[in-house]
Amino acid sequence: MSGLPVADRQVVRRAALGLVAVDRRAVAVMLVLHGAAAVAGLATPWLVGRIVDEVAAGAGVAAVDRLALAIGGCVLAHGLLTRYAQYTGHRFGERAVARLREGFVARTLDLPIAVVERAGTGELATRSSVDVTTVGSTVRDVVPVMVIASTQLTLLFGAIFLLHPLLGLVALSGLPSIVAVTRWYLRRARPAYLAEGAATAELTEALTTTAEGARTVEALRLGADRTAYGRQRIGRVWATRRATLALRSVFFPVVEASYALPIAVVLLFGGLLLDRGMVSLGEVVAAALYLQQAIEPLDRLLQWMEQAQRGLASFARVLGVGQQAEAAAAPRPRVPAPARSGRLVVRGARFSYADGPDVLHGIDLVVHPGERLAIVGPSGAGKSTLARLLAGIDVPREGVVSLDGVAVTDLDPAERRRRIALVTQEHHVFIGTLRDNLAFAAPDASDEQMRAALVAVSADWYADLPDGLDTQLGDGARELGAADAQQLALARLVLADPHTLILDEATAALDPTTARRTERALAAVVNGRTVIAIAHRLNTAHDADRVAVLEDGRITELGSHHELVRAGGAYAALWRSWHG
């Protein structure tokens, strides 16, 4: 299930250049150090040549010692320069990766909630762990290698050209086949590595969800099923890995065989030039040796090409998440909210999930400020969907939902949430302290206000906490029960202080005893606000100002409880079935 998009080549290139541009100085320092290191590295064979010449000329031990000492110095310089070049590169890489993952989380936080739900947490988790890490190791390990290798190759080929331009030209004879096969490879590699990454993510998701649902696996004896499901994923990963291996099986041998070609041609052609007295023997030998030396950096470049591809593929997946946020955010201008009166109007709203059939078929509804409206109807009628439209989480396919004349989806999201809060039966306790779990609803709230909010929702468990607001919650620390977690959610609402509350069966997932306790807490929250309550228990509807009956995505009845009971429609029938 890969519901998240992947960035295209242009976006990837722009983002990569952006990362470099932000850290220009570090990149420049790294390049200079690597260049110096390459020169120091190339000095060793040149000095060995000097020793050969000196010994052949009958030089003494003193000259040999001097040159050997110079070699040692060059090696040390090479090592030291490499160390600082690598360190600069590593720090740059860490910074780039930190920027990347922080940007990734920031963009994830900006994702429309519907997109996240469809994509699955495993997919997002893989992108945030495996892909961000892969990009990181690419930036830290691969980029320096590419820089070093390119520097060395430039120096070596430059040296051959200096020996004789014609030798330099024939030295390039291996390049056409390398360039051709590299182009062939790179064209096919991207989709192949993307498929490999997607298959790997699915396998990780299979492992993660099996762990999350371990109790269900045990109870329903789904072990064999889960194993079979995972085996399928392993098979798919293998299929994609074989596809990329097939590409490398062409790419690697062609390039490697191409290494020998220029050496052979230089020797052969050098023989001809030698006959005509255009070059010396020493020059041909030097050119052949330089070419032999070029194999190593070329080979490293090639070896890391695969990793670079992987990194690029991961980079595209990491950036893909941002792309979606931009795409979703771009067409919507942010309109400043008008004065607070809080009149919610729904006009002709239709909605469907993905490309499915419509769930809502033209809803018209006006909610007045301070009104208590109950929405009832059978499961699957579209109540929760309507709640999400009212809260501005989903956008109607047709029609509009507006607050004081402004479409709710045009409001600045932060502003919208300050005015309209949606409370569902799903709650989440974040890893962190109790204070962390409250503060995000109202960043300016004092400890006093937080405690008052907890008291308001009768969260009496607060008294038992060892460290008060600083008590760690979640992830192996203290776990809150469902009711306590729901009270925590309500305390957040007290702090957030929105003028309109949408309650989507906020207490439905709780057992009745706890639900009653929570409902009492809720009473403290709803005072003085507009309330839209979605309820499957009719007692909630009984005392609302108005009741809307939603059936099959349409509002079929609308009026006060007594009006509807008198009308003798579906609501009246429901009410009777409730009372037995």
Partner: protein
Amino acid sequence: MPPQLPHAEPGTPDTRGPLRYIWWLVRRQPWRVLRGGLIGTAWMLGLSARPYLVARAIDDGLRAADHRALLWWVAAIVVAGMALAYLGIMRHRTMTFVREDASARSAAVLLRHLSRIGAVLPRRLAAGEVATVGGADIIHTSAVLTMTGPGVGAVLAYVFVAFLLWSVSPLLAVFVLLGVPAVVLLVGPLLRRLERVESVYRHQQGLLTTRAADIVAGLRVLAGVGGRGLFARRYAARSQRLLAEGYRVGAVNSWIEALTIAIPGLFLAAVVWLAARMASAGDITIGQMVAVYGYVAVLIVPVWFLLEGGHQLIRGRVAARRIVALLNLRPDVAGPPSPVGGPPRPAPDGPADLHDPDTGLTVPAGRLLAVAADDPAESIALADRLGRFVASEVTWGGVPLTSIALDEVRARILVADHDSYLFAGTLREILHVRADLDDTDLRTALRTASAEDVVDAHPEGLAMPIGTRARTLSGGQRQRVRLARALLAEPDVLILVDPTSAVDAHTEARIAQRLHAARAERTTVVLTTSPLLLGQADLVAHLRHGRITAAGSHVELLEQEPSYRALVSRDNEVADADGSLR
């Protein structure tokens, strides 16, 4: 030879330690690893062919101005290049096969273990941890195996070069033979330091991943209440701490990189210096001196491989340790796979009463019993005891439940939690909990659970795809799909925990009727306080302060038990709920 993946049977891993685990991965494919070693060795030895051929082309061809000889040696260079390319790709393919075989095996044993370990797992492990193990750790562990081939080759190539050196000068050979172990000894402590730094870094990286997953899991809440900016900032702060740790790793790492260059480089310089002095003294020829330089330069490759191998081994060991830790997680002692003391006792053949001494509850065989508990925690604890998710005194047909084989208990007694997990798949796959089910069975169960609307609303019907945790379904729909799934398991004893808490009254009444008919003649326990479900039960028990205080029909209890009436009566609730809307 490519492996056949996934493996028919991944085998039993050696989980006594990370290195033993890696060794186990090797032992499962000894011939492939050996072949990789041989090809890797041939390739590495082949690397020394080119300098030799080039030297011959220069000496016999160019210097002697012999065009024929030049042509021959040049042709040999091209052919050798092709042969080397062939060996290279065969090495890479074999190593990829080795790596993928190991990765698939690790994934398979992890998967098998995760699906066996059961209920205890979520309590012991963060979800992010499994994602890290399943993602990066498997890969790092397998990477160790890819070093085996070149590793063997590196050692052989090393010996080969030492042998060649011996023919030139025993002194030089001894110097090389002693020098390289010294090189390794110098680098060893540094690599161990790297392991420490690296594991701290990886731990923090895992925590950061958990945070990101936590944010993803709570996105709905953030969408409802706000606070995204705060979470972004808090994550960024943690990310910055990891960055600082990354700097420390980088400081160590870069020194190792530098030493990887400097130590072999200095060693080579020393060899050259020694050889040059000997040549200058006339002990060896200039040709031999150049040859020594060439051979030792060739040695750099195996030395580099060995150092890199140590690097990967360390990383792989850290990763394998986490895999082994996960594989060593055991189910709780509370639910021992083999019964406490003595061989398993047979479960009752047919329907039999379940009895829970803790509360005094007896579940009559073949009936629908509803239990209304004052405290929801007590009803969950009761379900855990009856389903043997914890150790207890519960008996089944007089036999202690803990003395019956766990597998048999799981096969015949099902506890259906109200939040049981829904895996990704089509609706048909989700409901297909037994092998002999067909679509008619699935539709019947969906009808019993009053969940036809889930299928009807979707053009693909039973083939509709449902994501992990069925997030695209409404809370009520999810609950009814769970109920249908539990019914399809057709256990002898079905224990339903709050099966209709998220369902509207109309639908709930329908489910209550159909459930009774669908479970006719079979034992069913419903833990609920809903009057609609309680009204349909054959027998109702009231659980209060840890004991069953009353039992009878719903109507009887309503009349005779004020505390029961207070618990389930909707009239009371209306009064409270009024408050909620005022």
